[in-house]
């Protein structure tokens, strides 16, 4: 047993972080917030060229030939960076929808009561008839409501958990950075025990979710995946709230990025089987 990232996996993660830092840094993020509903096709193709969507396709089919653990690592990075777009849906369609693997076709999926990026999609998986647009709380994710959806794909559940994990790790870093810099009463607020303990809880939730998500990527067991998702949703949503609290009044402004993380975490928590489904799945397995 060697439950650690391999050197290749670390290099993949670092490469993805570097790519996103270059193509979707803070300026690009805020530009996207100012132009809601518009998907950056050039960025989407760049992701396609980098192998983001074709990551798990066999090399013989023009893919990268990697597995779920690697997919989880790149989706974690996408989550950290708040990368917009139907990333999970397009990744899952790489083998079946022409152009998806290369990032030329944007694919939306009906995998819950809400569909993300329906208007931007060149292809839709599932039945989106009767979809009604709503004014999305997340400026970076346009949403439609749909009447019904089938059971979620476990891989979609897992990759969503990976994105949530990215948010959980990122908001922990943002909270700690702010707590070290921001001074009140003549001291950095990070020296106050109340703030220290909020930050400690942020880390504990993120690290617990991390091992659950990574292990589920290795086992691909539906119960492990459900567990990972429950913990990652909690770590992202509660983490973003605590991060906002650490930022104080600054955290309540549009200029701070904290609300973007929280809103995205809320959106993802509704995607591909929510916490109720996950908890029921695990409970049923317990009583077997």
């Amino acid at each position: 047993m060697r439950f650690r990232l391999t050197d290749d996996q670390k290099a993949l993660r670092a490469g993805m972080r570097e790519l996103l830092g270059r193509c979707f840094g803070r300026e690009a993020l805020r530009a996207a917030v100012d132009a809601p509903g518009r998907l950056d096709r050039a960025l989407w193709r760049t992701l396609g060229e980098a192998g983001f969507f074709a990551l798990r396709l066999p090399e013989a089919d023009g893919g990268v030939g990697l597995g779920l653990p690697e997919a989880v690592l790149v989706f974690e990075e996408a989550g950290r960076a708040l990368l917009p777009g139907p990333l999970v849906a397009t990744h899952l369609a790489a083998a079946s929808v022409p152009g998806a693997a290369r990032g030329e076709t944007v694919v939306a999926a009906v995998d819950g009561e809400l569909v993300e990026w329906l208007d931007a999609a060149g292809a839709v998986r599932g039945d989106a008839s009767g979809a009604v647009p709503l004014r999305s709380v997340d400026p970076l994710t346009p949403l439609h409501r749909v009447p019904a959806a089938g059971p979620p794909d476990p891989v979609a559940v897992l990759l969503t958990a990976a994105e949530q994990l990215g948010t959980a790790g990122r908001v922990c870093e943002l909270a700690v950075q702010h707590a070290r810099r921001r001074e009140q009463f003549g001291r950095p607020i990070g020296s106050f025990q109340a703030v220290q303990h909020l930050c400690a809880d942020l880390l504990v939730r993120a690290e617990t979710a991390r091992v659950a998500v990574y292990a589920a990527a290795v086992t691909a067991d539906p119960a492990d995946i459900a567990a990972a998702r429950l913990l990652a949703d909690e770590a992202a949503v509660q983490g973003a709230r605590d991060c906002l609290q650490v930022h104080g009044g600054m955290g309540f402004t549009w200029e701070a990025d904290v609300h973007l993380h929280l809103k995205r975490a809320w959106v993802r928590a509704r995607r591909a089987g929510g916490s109720t489904q996950g908890a029921e799945l695990l409970a049923a397995a317990l009583a077997d």
């Binding site: 047993m1 060697r2 439950f3 650690r4 990232l5 391999t6 996996q9 653990p69 922990c172 700690v176 707590a179 070290r180 001291r187 950095p188 990070g190 020296s191 106050f192 025990q193 703030v195 220290q196 303990h197 930050c199 400690a200 809880d201 880390l203 504990v204 690290e207 617990t208 979710a209 091992v211 659950a212 990574y214 292990a215 990527a217 290795v218 086992t219 119960a223 492990d224 459900a226 567990a227 990972a228 429950l230 913990l231 109720t276 996950g278 908890a279 029921e280 799945l281 695990l282 409970a283 049923a284 397995a285 317990l286 009583a287």
Partner: protein, 377 residues
């Protein structure tokens, strides 16, 4: 990332499983939780069986993965846990192994492994609980002995212990972390008085220990004089790192029992309760993964478990309390009946967020040592 075991490790697992299948049916009935002499005899007997079968030093095994397999398999099989051997096997033993001289290792380690001696932990004092560095028990040097005076509290197994890993202050003028020394105290020494303390669970689980001019040979000192704080941190990293590992598997067993009971008594039809059980399953799955992650990290760095143990301890202690609070939901009115399963466990789980450093102390450790936040005042 690899969660699979090597063929050697799988062989170890198979051999252990086979052995457990043979010996567990031959064990005598467990003594009652209040019967400390009975528990001492039972736990030492089990340790002796492990020794004879070649598993005695599994907690000190060079391969953390094998240790993990041992804990997983023994818990799954319902084998006894370390019990009264807890301090010897998980604290004092590893500390002596890491910091003791060759002579000290030869003197104390074999009797611990053979199940001949029980150790207790003399760290906490009435005015030094989580603030361990403020301990006041004094040791004055007199030739080749230390003369020790003071008192210890919340000392588990003190009544039945042969030895005590004792922290004393040897230099009252030094900064408080610097003047502390780690001693092995024989519990039958003149001047040692043990007074059992009753816990809120009703049992006499731990004790107060009074030390009145107790003479401890200098040869019983592990590490250098006034260097006991560093030695202690070695012990505590074991305590927070791997000491609770077996319990995680046990908690998952409890969870399955709760689900079955809820099915039988109709509480399962309550969706809120059912989902709470599902969430707890997620929690304990993750705690097991966290263990595997920390063990792999220790294996990679080739040594003592690191501060990651604080993350585990913090999360686990709360999850355990949540588990037994949920058990009360499953039991309904029976949750107030001390004769029902899980009711005593619920009471004892209350200690988990206090013992071995309170959750508040653990959060401060995480904030300052892992996250690098400025030190509080």
């Amino acid at each position: 990332m690899d969660l699979s075991c090597t063929p050697e490790e799988e062989e170890f697992r198979a051999r252990l499983r086979d052995w457990l299948g043979k010996v567990l049916p031959t064990l005598p009935a467990q003594p009652s939780p209040d019967d400390w002499p009975g528990r001492r005899a039972y736990d030492l007997g089990w340790q002796r069986m492990l020794y004879d079968a070649g598993y005695a030093d599994v907690h000190w095994d060079a391969s953390p993965t094998r240790r993990l397999i041992y804990l997983e398999e023994t818990e799954k099989a319902g084998a006894p846990y370390v019990g009264a051997n807890f301090v010897g096997l998980l604290h004092a033993g590893p500390t002596i192994a890491a910091e003791g001289s060759a002579e000290q290792r030869a003197r104390w380690l074999p009797p611990i492994l053979r199940g001949e001696q029980v150790w207790c932990q003399g760290f906490s004092e009435p005015d030094a609980g989580s603030d361990l560095a403020s301990l006041r028990t004094r040791a004055r040097r007199d030739g080749d002995v230390y003369v020790v005076t003071g008192s210890k509290i919340w000392t588990s197994h003190a009544e039945v212990a042969d030895w005590c890993e004792l922290l004393v202050r040897t230099d009252p003028d030094a900064p408080r972390h610097r003047g502390i020394t780690w001693l092995a105290l024989p519990m039958d020494a003149e001047g040692v008085t043990v007074r059992p303390l009753r816990t809120l669970a009703g049992s006499a689980e731990f004790a107060e220990v009074f030390l009145d001019e107790v003479r401890v040979p200098v040869a019983n000192r592990v590490g250098e004089e006034n260097d006991g704080w560093r030695v202690t941190m070695v012990t505590l990293s074991f305590e927070r790192g791997t000491a609770f590992v077996g319990e995680v598997v046990a908690c998952r067993r409890v969870l399955t029992g709760l689900a079955r009971t809820a099915r039988d008594n109709g509480r399962w039809d309550d969706p809120a309760l059912r989902r709470r059980l599902g969430r707890l399953d997620a929690e304990f799955r993750a705690l097991w993964r966290l263990t595997q992650w920390n063990v792999s990290a220790a294996e990679e760095s080739g040594g003592v478990p690191g501060v990651g143990g604080s993350v585990f301890k913090l999360r686990y202690s709360h999850a355990r309390q949540e588990l037994y609070d949920t058990a009360a939901e499953v039991l309904g009115p029976d949750c107030l009946d001390l004769d029902r399963p899980w009711v005593l466990d619920r009471l004892s789980s209350l200690s988990y967020t206090i013992a071995a450093g309170t959750s508040q102390i653990q959060r401060t450790i995480v904030a300052e040592r892992i996250l690098g936040l400025p030190r509080g005042r």
